[in-house]
């Protein structure tokens, strides 16, 4: 069944070429109008429906409500009831819908690269199992990445039951072994600390990245934003020691760029700064967050210190059970002891520790089966590759970081001949059940419908445990010799699983604003030492392995240390991700997964061209992203504009407006990509980004000031005196009666005068025909938003399609639109609720209140453009007793 709206919407784009030549095509092509043959239940054409589901991107589940248009998942929203989301979404959550429709997803099973039938695969497995049966499963190994699914865990038990000597291993390149190990040292068992950041009066982050790639990042962000709201002159103060640029460091009041050993040394040696900070923590119920890169001893120490501080932190069971480590498996493989290896998801051939040489070991396995979304590096080296269903295509379940379970329900029948991990496992356990039955069995005693409706299973969160500290040795910081190399999960492509996502590749990285690339991050001082500048190439020698990587100089990096984001240099990611960036996994060992010392770094010949969306990092003394000390809030000069010659236009209906709180914004980019998904914004590719033609409607500007990083999301300001409008010769850029600055694509002839005259440069132009043509991708597009052709200007519309929907519903009921009924895509996605949108004529609306804040100011207000979008300045809360950082 092909939904009508889909074909209609995309005609504009398809017809573009024709129209281009036929100067406005004098007769429209005949369009078919295609009804359902069998009308599905309660499906209203043109009215989207939302289904609750969940997915794991960084080790724990993120709850989401997926918008479905005529049966096509088109957009991801957060699930307010899910602790891993709280209504917000991560950039990965937003991108997952593109992943679903990615035309390069694996479509058929392959045997040694050749298309084969699933039947043949099942026969192969059956044969192997018969042989394995006799030896009680000796030689049967399973390798999984995400083990947070209770059903999966149950099935693994089933397999082991059937094959007692079979072994289950786990490899997740973004594992959390260090913190588990730290907890084991401190408490005698692997636990996860559950921080109550909201209650913290001060935070000391030891390279913790709790806003970046922590499994609970969205929840942390929301709590952090609340903690940073000043209440009676006080607000949470953040100290950050970090070995790599992170959102945490960017938000910190005191920021210290230090290598991992330096941080541990600092923790042990207790200098003056340490004492000052510790005093502050003590007085204000502070909490210490330790990051994965730190040694288990350091984690244990942090736990002890938190205990001393009486810090707001609870301890819970990890959301997934412990399984056998990867090295064991590789050893067995190399020994030829593995007859059947089943790899559920993951891409070890690409991301396994370098010294293990997983690929070579894999060659010695008799029968290897790889279940994955893409036909990737590992698939190519396995006997069998089996396409996996996307999480929007299958039934499953997943646990959030706090243990809360959620049902993963499909929104669409599998697009290709894929199977879910559960179905593959049921093959091994010999029960041959559908994923649905398996999941139902796991959750026999719950209110199933409620669980589906709410997207969470009530009361499934793990209980905080009573813990008692044990004695353990203090960390012995490794003496710093040579260069430190720091590995981090890339904020966009993570461990490489999103390498083929054009949205994420083109998403400007928070600190560097770099797209379509990764780089060796270097501090300015180190760059001087090496005699390199951004774009020069470095040779990195670590242990016996070398890597050549382009350098990127950033002030947020620690001296004498490099940061290498993981997840690039893929060879079988797909047309989008192949050959993008450099592969840092080639340097990464199992023993030193996050930070390795003793590296040699030298300048190599050649230059590398980066594609960045922001070429200038300083504000040049202009008051753009403004900030103010906590003590001086009242003396903040808002500088609202003055009078005008012309009488103002009356807006007596609605007056839509937006307020963006720079004190809450952590620069995570969720708004940018959410907007991209909602508004059918194309990606343009590296060359076009270099040419300065990226299309994002809301960009997050990043400025450096002293040691501080300032973020400022910049959508269209919807000026009441819009400079873009009076210069447009054809009334394509005009104001509507509710104060929206609307861009009428079908009227635009592309003079680009509007962009020339826009002081905020938020307008985007289709210099070429940027829309991708693959049919699959058309299915993802939002039918409520026109797909723009080449040669027209576009920009933020305040999500006019959402306003219209709300207005029509309200008008049908003969009432006004209530506050909060219209939520823009960026606002919905924002983890910290930094963006507020609403009607200024409603004095009670959130946005009206936000604009009464003493910190509210207009960007470039002195130009008297009268923007409807205004900002609340960021509040800096420095410790008067602490000078440095």
């Amino acid at each position: 069944m092909s939904p009508i709206r889909l074909t209609r919407r995309n005609f504009l784009k398809l017809g573009a070429a024709a129209a281009a030549l036929a100067t406005g095509a004098c007769s429209r092509p005949r369009e078919a109008i295609v009804p359902y043959a069998h009308q599905p239940e309660n499906e209203l054409p043109g009215v989207p429906r939302f289904y609750a589901t969940a997915a794991c991107f960084v080790g724990a589940a993120e709850g989401m409500l997926v918008e479905s248009n005529a049966g096509r998942p088109t957009k991801v929203e957060g699930n307010p009831g899910h602790p891993g989301s709280l209504g917000a979404t991560s950039v990965h959550g937003q991108a997952s819908v593109l992943e679903l429709w990615d035309p390069e997803r694996s479509k058929v099973p392959r045997q040694r690269g050749q298309p084969a039938t699933r039947g043949a695969l099942e026969r192969d497995i059956a044969d192997a199992l018969v042989r394995l049966r006799e030896r009680g499963g000796e030689g049967l190994r399973l390798l999984v990445r995400d083990a947070s699914s209770p059903t999966l865990a149950r099935q693994l038990d089933g397999v082991v039951e059937r094959f007692p000597r079979a072994l289950v291993h786990r490899w997740d390149p973004l594992h959390r072994d260090r913190s588990r190990e730290g907890a084991r040292l401190a408490f005698g068992r692997p636990l996860e600390p559950l921080y109550r950041i909201e209650q913290a009066g001060a935070i000391l982050s030891l390279d913790s990245r709790f806003l970046d790639d922590h499994p609970y990042r969205l929840n942390h962000a929301r709590q952090f934003a609340r903690a940073r709201m000043p209440r009676d002159g006080r607000m949470c103060r953040l100290y950050a020691l970090e070995s790599a640029p992170s959102l945490v460091g960017a938000m910190a009041d005191h920021r210290f760029a230090m290598s991992v050993p330096a941080i541990e040394a600092w923790l042990v040696e207790k200098n003056a700064a340490y004492d000052t900070i510790f005093k502050d923590l003590k007085q204000n119920r502070g909490v210490i967050l330790a990051g994965e890169a730190l040694s288990p001893q350091a984690h244990a120490l942090a736990h002890r210190l938190n205990a001393e501080l009486g810090a707001p932190v609870a301890y819970i069971e990890p959301s997934e059970r412990e399984l056998r480590p990867l090295p064991e498996l590789v050893q067995a493989m190399r020994g030829g002891a593995v007859e059947l290896l089943v790899i559920l998801d993951g891409n070890p051939a690409y991301d396994a520790p370098a010294e293990l040489d997983f690929t070579a070991a894999l060659a010695r396995v008799a029968l290897s089966v790889h279940l994955s979304l893409y036909d990737d590096e590992t698939s190519a080296r396995c006997t069998w590759h089996l396409p996996s269903t996307h999480f929007m295509e299958h039934w499953s379940d997943a646990r959030a970081f706090d243990g809360t379970a959620a049902i993963v329900q499909p929104l669409i029948a599998p697009l290709y001949a894929g199977v879910s991990p559960h179905e593959l496992l049921s093959l091994l356990s010999g029960e041959h059940k559908s994923a649905y039955d398996l999941v139902r069995e796991t959750w026999r005693h719950i209110d199933w419908d409620a669980a589906l409706r709410q997207g969470v299973i009530r009361g499934s969160a793990s209980r905080p445990l009573q813990v008692s500290l044990r004695g353990f040795s203090r960390p012995k910081p490794a003496p710093e010799q040579g260069w430190q190399v720091r590995f981090v999960a890339d904020e966009a492509v993570l461990d490489g699983r999103f390498a083929n996502s054009a949205w994420l590749q083109e998403l400007p990285r928070a600190d560097s604003k770099l797209t379509w690339d990764n780089a060796a991050l270097v501090s300015p001082n180190s760059a001087k030492v090496l005699g390199v500048a951004t774009g020069d190439v470095l040779d990195i020698l670590l242990g016996a392995r070398t890597l050549r990587a382009p350098a990127w100089v950033t002030p947020a990096q620690a001296d004498m240390s490099l940061t290498l984001p993981l997840g690039y240099g893929r060879s079988r990611a797909g047309a989008i991700g192949n050959g993008v960036g450099i592969d840092a996994f080639t340097l990464r060992t199992h023993a030193e997964p996050w930070s390795a010392g003793g590296a040699q770094v030298t300048k190599a010949p050649g230059r590398h061209e980066f594609a960045t969306t922001q070429n200038h990092a300083r504000m040049e003394g202009r008051e753009l992203a403004r900030h103010v000390g906590l003590a001086h809030i009242d003396s903040f000069a808002s500088k609202k504009p003055n009078t005008s010659l012309y009488p103002g236009w009356p807006y007596d209906g609605y007056r839509w407006a937006m307020s963006i709180d720079l004190n809450a914004c952590i620069g995570c980019n969720a708004c940018t990509i959410a907007c991209q998904a909602e508004n059918n914004i194309p990606t343009v590719g590296k060359e076009q980004v270099i040419a300065g033609r990226e299309m994002h409607w809301i960009r997050v500007d990043r400025y450096y000031e002293e040691r501080r990083t300032l973020f400022q999301p910049v959508p269209c300001m919807h000026c009441e005196n819009a400079p873009c409008e009076y210069v447009c010769p054809v009334e394509a850029s005009v104001h509507d009666s509710e104060g929206l600055n609307v861009q009428v694509y079908n009227r635009c002839v592309g003079t680009r005068f509007c962009s020339q005259n826009c002081p905020y440069k938020v307008r985007r132009f289709n210099f070429l025909d940027y829309q991708r043509k693959e049919e699959e991708l058309k299915a993802q597009r939002n039918p409520e938003v026109t797909v723009r052709m080449r040669g027209v200007m576009e920009k933020c519309t305040y999500c006019v399609q959402r306003i219209t929907r709300a207005r029509i519903e309200a008008e049908k009921q003969g009432r006004r639109i209530g506050d909060g009924e219209v939520v823009t895509a960026c606002q919905a996605a924002c983890p910290t609720s930094a963006i507020v949108f609403g009607d200024l004529n409603d004095k009670e609306s959130e946005v009206s209140k936000a604009k009464t804040s003493p910190l509210d100011y207009d960007l470039l207000g002195e130009l008297n453009t009268r923007p409807r979008t205004s900002y609340a300045a960021r509040i800096v809360n420095r410790n008067p007793e602490l000078k440095d950082g």
Binding site: P35, A37, T786
Partner: protein, 213 residues
Amino acid sequence: MPQIFGPPAVLGIKLSLVAIALTASAAWITFYKALPAQSGLASPQQPIPFSHKHHVGDDGIDCRYCHWSVEKASFAGIPSAQVCLTCHSQLFNDAPMLEPLRESARTGAPIRWVRVHDLPDFVFFDHSIHLAKGVGCVECHGRVDRMPRIERVASLEMQWCLGCHRDPAPHLRLPQDVFDMASKPPQDPRVRAQLAARLLPKQRLTDCSTCHR
């Protein structure tokens, strides 16, 4: 000097000028007739010769029976094969002209009707709100109850839309009349005023963003 242009030559030149003018205007008229608003798309052949005249006019079936989502959604809804078969499994259940219908129900392959009322893709029209505000079906679709084969009676050009959006009052019906093909807008100015009062201000109705996004 000998004359370069004798009287006949001059006459010839004049005639050819006239000829050029005529052909030009003729060309323009043909082009204009080819524009979507005027073009022959008005009443195309359909896979099944469905007669609104018969179903609506003679049988008196309500619009909403087939176009079920017209009051709830932007899209009026085109009946699925099942809906047709609720009757046609009994009536004319072996009529050859209904074969496509039965096949669709059998195979699940949808019937591909030819779109008659086709708006450009950058125009966002919502049936439900128009009905809710008293714009009757007949206002845009004409007397379908008299159409053996569905045809387009309105140009669907922007100026045609604006005509109503600028001055809606004369086009509004009482809520109970919107689906009534024979109904007329109330003549009583007070009633008209009441109906018009339920609308958004004219400025809003003629905003670009009302129809274009």
